[in-house]
C-alpha cells in the first residue's frame, strides 16, 4: 500500500473549482443558457421600460441585476445537479480533507460563472440600453459584480446542496434562495447607480462585504452537516 501525503485544503479547493470550470467549458450549459437569458432580459427592458423611464441608468441597473439573479440561480442549480447526477459529490466527500474545502471550491467556480454572465449582461446593456460605463469607473463596477457574485454563490451553493435531494428541488431552490440574497441585489442595484451618478459608495459596499463574509462563514460551518446522509 502507498503512503500518500496529507491532502492540502487549498489544493482541494483549487481542484474542485478547476473541475467545475472544465465541465462547464466542455458542456457550456450555464454560460450559453444564462447568456441567452441575459440578452432576452436586456432586450425586454430596452423595449418596455427604456421609453417610459427618464433615467436610463435605473433601467440598466435593473436589467443587470435581474439577469444576475436568474443566471446565478441557474449556475448553482446546474453546479450541484452535476454532482448529484452520478454521485460525483460522494467521491469528493470520500477525500480525506475537511469537507468545507469542497464548498469553498464550488463557491469559487460559481462566482466565476455568475460574474462572467453578469459581465456579458453588462455588455448587452451598453449596446442595447446605451448605458455609459466610464473607463475610470469600470474597475469599480467589476468589483461590485465580483463581490455580489461571491455572496450569491456562497449562499446559493449551500441552499442548492440542501434542496438537491428534495422533491421539487427546482422549485424549492429559487423560493429559498432569492429572499436570502435580497441584500446582495439591493447593494448591487444601489452601487451600480451610485457608481454611474458619482454618489458615495461606502454604505452599500459595507453591506455587501458584511453579507459576503457572514454567509461564506456560515456556509463553511454548515456544509459538513448539509452533505451528511
Amino acid at each position: 500500500m502507498t503512503d500518500s501525503t496529507p491532502v492540502s485544503y487549498w489544493r482541494t479547493v483549487f481542484e474542485v473549482a478547476r473541475k467545475d470550470l472544465r465541465i462547464e467549458l466542455r458542456s457550456k450549459q450555464v454560460l450559453n443558457t444564462a447568456a441567452v437569458f441575459a440578452l432576452l432580459v436586456v432586450i425586454i427592458f430596452a423595449f418596455s421600460f427604456a421609453r417610459t423611464f427618464a433615467n436610463i441608468d435605473v433601467v440598466a441597473s435593473g436589467a443587470l441585476w435581474v439577469a444576475f439573479v436568474f443566471a446565478g440561480t441557474f449556475s448553482v442549480s446546474q453546479s450541484v445537479a452535476v454532482e448529484e447526477a452520478d454521485a460525483g459529490l460522494d467521491s469528493l466527500l470520500l477525500v480525506p480533507v475537511d469537507r468545507s474545502a469542497i464548498y469553498v471550491g464550488k463557491v469559487v467556480s460559481n462566482t466565476a460563472f455568475t460574474a462572467a454572465v453578469a459581465v456579458i449582461t453588462l455588455g448587452c446593456i451598453i449596446v442595447f440600453l446605451d448605458f455609459t460605463v466610464l473607463p475610470s469607473t469600470t474597475p469599480l463596477l467589476l468589483l461590485v459584480i465580483a463581490l455580489a457574485a461571491f455572496g450569491f454563490a456562497a449562499t446559493g451553493v449551500l441552499i442548492a446542496t440542501i434542496t438537491a435531494r428534495a422533491r421539487l428541488s427546482d422549485l424549492l431552490l429559487p423560493l429559498l434562495l432569492v429572499p436570502l440574497v435580497i441584500p446582495v441585489l439591493l447593494a448591487g442595484v444601489e452601487l451600480t447607480r451610485a457608481i454611474s451618478e458619482g454618489l458615495p459608495l461606502w454604505r452599500w459596499f459595507r453591506l455587501l462585504l458584511a453579507y459576503d463574509g457572514v454567509l461564506f462563514l456560515i456556509g463553511i460551518a454548515l456544509f459538513e452537516y448539509v452533505v451528511e446522509r
Binding site: S4, T12, V82, D90, S91, L92, L94, E228, R229
Partner: protein
C-alpha cells in the same frame, strides 16, 4: 492494517430503524460479504463504514480510528465502490482519475497503471457518458483503488451487469485480493467465490454469520434462506 470493528451500531432514518445494534469485526485481509433482502440495511451499513453517514448509537473503528471523530484519517484508508458510479460523465476516464490522483496527492503516473489494471487504457480519452455500464463500473473500481487503500467497500458491484461483464469485474477484483474487502451483494454465487465469511442482515439486525471458507454454495444458500425466513431464493 485494514481491521474493522463495528460495535453496537444503530442507524435511524426518520421513524425507521435501518440498523439495530449491529456488531461484528473484520480481520486484516479478510473478505466479508453482506447479504440480506432489500431494505435489510446493507447500504446503510456501507454508508456508515464509508463515513458518508454517522451512526446514531455505537462505534465503528477502522484500524482503531473511529469513523465519526477521525473521519479524515479513516477516509485515507478506504476505497469505495457504490451502486452509483461516483465519476463525472462530462470528463474522460483519464480526467476523472487524474482529478482524484491530484486530490489524494497520488502520483499521476499511477493513473495509467490503474487504467491498465481495469482494462480501460484504450478508452482513457473517452468521455464517461459514452461508456457502457460495465466500463463505468470498472472505472469506478479504478477510482476506488487509485490511492491504494487498505480497505475496499463494494456496494452491489455486480448490479446491472451482464454475465460477461460481471465475470470481467470479478476477475479484476481478484487483483486486489490482499485488501480487506466488505462486499454488499445479492449475488450469492459470486460472493461464495469472493468471500471468507458472510454476514446476513434481516430488518436491520445481524441475523447470522456464516463461514464461506469451504466455498460450499449449497450450504450457504440453506443457511441464508433460514436466516431470512424464506423457502427459496428470489
Amino acid at each position: 492494517m485494514g481491521t474493522i470493528s463495528v460495535d453496537g451500531v444503530t442507524r435511524r432514518l426518520g421513524s425507521t430503524t435501518a440498523l439495530r445494534d449491529v456488531s461484528f469485526t473484520v480481520d486484516s485481509g479478510e473478505h466479508v460479504g453482506l447479504f440480506g433482502p432489500n431494505g435489510a440495511g446493507k447500504t446503510s451499513l456501507m454508508q456508515l463504514l464509508s463515513t458518508l453517514a454517522s451512526p446514531d448509537d455505537g462505534r465503528i473503528r477502522i484500524d482503531g480510528d473511529d469513523v465519526t471523530p477521525d473521519a479524515t484519517a479513516v477516509r485515507a484508508k478506504l476505497g469505495v465502490v457504490s451502486h452509483r458510479p461516483m465519476v463525472y460523465g462530462t470528463l474522460t476516464a483519464r480526467e476523472n482519475l487524474r482529478l482524484h490522483a491530484r486530490l489524494r496527492t497520488v502520483d499521476t503516473a499511477r493513473v495509467e497503471r490503474v487504467l491498465e489494471d481495469v482494462n480501460l487504457r484504450t478508452h482513457a480519452s473517452t468521455r464517461v457518458a459514452d461508456f457502457s455500464h460495465g466500463m463505468t463500473k470498472r472505472l469506478s473500481i479504478a477510482r476506488a483503488v487509485l490511492h491504494d487503500p487498505t480497505v475496499l467497500l463494494l456496494d452491489e458491484p455486480y448490479a446491472g451487469l451482464d454475465q460477461r461483464s460481471a465475470m470481467d469485474l470479478q476477475r479484476i477484483l481478484t487483483r486486489f485480493d490482499d485488501r480487506t474487502v466488505v462486499i454488499a451483494t445479492h449475488d450469492l454465487e459470486r460472493a461464495v467465490d469472493d468471500c471468507d465469511r458472510a454476514l446476513v442482515l434481516v430488518d436491520g439486525t445481524l441475523e447470522r454469520t456464516v463461514s464461506l471458507t469451504d466455498r460450499d454454495r449449497h450450504s450457504f444458500e440453506t443457511a441464508y434462506l433460514e436466516a431470512v425466513g424464506r423457502s427459496e431464493l428470489q
